[in-house]
Symmetry: D2
Subunit: 260 residues, 4 copies
């Protein structure tokens, strides 16, 4: 087993976080969460419900057991810092934990995050006592500034949300990991288990997966596959990874000990 | 659990094969074999011992239980077809199973296999009743010719032996898988668990790993990590893999069912 | 010949910009500038000289003919927006053109740019009437915000400065190009001519190269090679690029017109 | 200018070879050949015409001036060694130069070459006095065997013919170049000029391009672009290429000589 993950002083056994979007049904989601072994589940604070009378969190909380999972509200849909801060406060007021996944993406095509508004909102939410997990482009300088203002993690994207392209930001993620003083969570773009394993091998502390599991033909099976790959990648990272070599190293011919 | 692997009519639960070279000690090897869950273990028929009086297989068989593992002798070190065939027959004469991993690599730097000699030896060994698993460059035409002469698998390399470079032959492996009528085993170059997962996601039926496990700081832990990643990749492949997209697909905002 | 490049209303025939750092001698630099055919040359406003009595631009202007090249002062070394703005104004006061390459990289290891300070400085310099060309991480949202505040270009990095790694930010550069309303100049990381050609094929409007030319064994030869590759990539882009296919398309057998 | 290319004792100024398939018209082909500066043009010996009474080479020779270009007949369409040898002899009998591009690809989908038949045919044709340029998978051992039997070049593929995927066989091409005693020509898969530049930077001695030029909206323009990129890549290779670095090397701040 790999080491536990610690975020804001809280310990987690699983290094796989799950999103709740796009599942075919609440029960498919519930089963996948369970199969994944995850302990952190992110839930969108949907804009549409904010002014309604009905408690916007009623439904989701029926399906995500808060005793079992840390419900990590996200501000997906927020267009700027003010809106994200308002959403976060609303979530806290509604009784959700004061942990917030900060997502500000004005861009409608690629859902890429806004670095300026994200830093601004992060600063304010940290001051308000939130545990802040910001979703960002894989920008090492931004990641450093965020950890300096007190965010609990940084969450660089591997590739655009839902694109399944894996870690197209490999070089930058490597630098972010090298400079990190808080856990690095690779978020978005991970389409297959090998992507999750690779993120962990690069030194990420955790990964967040949503689309790839939610839309799989068997979400629970895919959740298990991602869990195994995440753990495998982490174990390898903790043991120390080999260098890539330019030429071969004979394996079999060198098994000296096999001779009498 | 993924489907079983079937080679030459024999069924295997594990899709991870292990090599026995380069381990620090026999006990480290034994433990790693056990931790990996492997059922197929490849052992070099070392040239040096061929003319000696001492049974060349005595030592290794003390450490690789033939009740538990299929001992797959390999012809590593053979420079041409004649030598490989001689080695294979010697192995059979010594009581090893008539399964042979055919490796002919005259090249001392990269240990790359010789396509001409490999096809020649494969033809002869198949006629002699061997179950032949040939190690080859990722050459789709050669793979096809080998399966046509009756080999039990094809084993294209991901990258040169011991290089840890992963699947640098991705495009060709994909074509080999598409055209295969026998199991495809990606062999050589897999340095970290994500490489094994990726091979399986590409549709390989199994992987063979040696150096990356044998030289790890904790060979048993690394064996477990590779086993998990291999299984994860296979599960994902069997469920069907998603397309890579050029732009994002919103996840959270679309969770329609979460609304009342 | 490809179309001309237009920045802030000014037309350039060459799409290759050169930096002046790291050359072995002023004459090597002069020769390389000439060989490259460049029309835009960037020069560092070195911090060390700012308070000195000696005109800090005297030397460099002896070697970069302002009649022939647009001298593009850069703020390399600036740690924040205030410092960058001060440097830019100093350059203008010293008689340099009011064109500024905005570089703010507090990070001493990778010289990666700061998104927050860069946007802040860009806003202010645009208001002051500067033509602003900001060096940024390959962040599509930041690129959009910069063009919205009125920068004349955006200059996403291909890879860290001086790393010769090429365009490791391919996916993001592609999105930046797609959303751009101003010219996109790929800056930093281009180590060999094929990198420059690839940037142009991706749709960049220009590239900036420094280290790879300055430290070459023959800077003038390398400058010519980069110029040719840049032009070649641009020509191909303007003609329209082919799709990548998963399988082959026979070439020779289909030459129908060759038959009588 | 880069060094001349020497194949079988004959010197060429251009390192770009062109194929003649798929052009929209003979005049488009003629113009593209001219624009490319090529000196070696490959022409398919079409199977269909072999038994006809009409001279199968009449048409093509009207469009490819043999005074200006070396007409390199290719055996595209041959399914095995015997057929390729027959085609080669037919070409020689018809008065074409005794230079043959050996292509044997029984595979109808990807047009990948057959290593066994190619070596067999190469041996025979060399004995018959042909200058043999074999098209092969990027297999370093096969390449070595071919040069040992006396072929004039080896022509590893970058990617399947017509796929435009560039050099997906990078690692193997690098090994082939390292071990080569004859010129290495990267053939097939080069879709854009940067691919040709990269092949040359890897140390290839020449490239062969067909589809990407023939089907371009402006074949002559694309031919020029490929010619420039090929030359640029070669120049860079001859000057010596820089290492890729993991982190940045400041450029501007180090321009020591610029200070008085």
């Amino acid at each position: 087993m790999s080491d536990p993950l610690v975020i804001a002083g809280r310990e987690f056994r699983s290094r796989l976080m799950l999103g709740t979007g796009k599942f075919g049904s609440p029960s498919a989601m519930k089963d996948a969460l369970e199969a994944s072994g995850t302990e952190i589940v992110t839930v969108a604070l949907r804009r549409a419900n904010l002014t309604g009378e009905k408690d916007p969190f009623a439904d989701i909380l029926e399906h995500v057991d808060p005793e079992r999972y840390l419900v990590l509200a996200n501000t997906s849909g927020a267009m700027d810092a003010a809106e994200a801060v308002r959403l976060a406060k609303l979530a806290a007021a509604a009784g959700l934990p004061k942990w917030i996944k900060l997502e500000i993406h004005p861009d409608p095509n690629y859902l890429l995050p806004d670095p300026i508004e994200t830093l601004k909102a992060a600063e304010e939410l940290v001051k308000e006592g939130f545990v802040v997990l910001p979703y960002i482009n894989a920008d090492p300088v931004l990641a450093k500034r965020l950890q300096e203002v007190g965010t609990a993690t940084v969450m660089p994207l591997g590739a655009p949300i839902g694109s399944n392209r894996g870690i197209s930001t490999r070089d930058q993620v490597r630098i972010i990991v090298e400079q990190a003083t808080v856990p690095v969570v690779v978020d978005a773009g991970l389409g297959v288990p090998s992507h999750a394993a690779e993120a962990m091998e690069l030194g990420a502390d955790a990964v967040l997966v949503n689309t790839a599991i939610a839309v799989a033909s068997d979400p629970s099976g895919m959740a298990r596959a991602f869990a195994m790959a995440t753990e495998a990648g982490r174990m390898a990272f903790e043991m120390g990874l080999p260098d890539q070599l330019d030429n071969a190293e004979a394996t079999s011919p060198l098994t000296g000990f096999l001779q009498g």
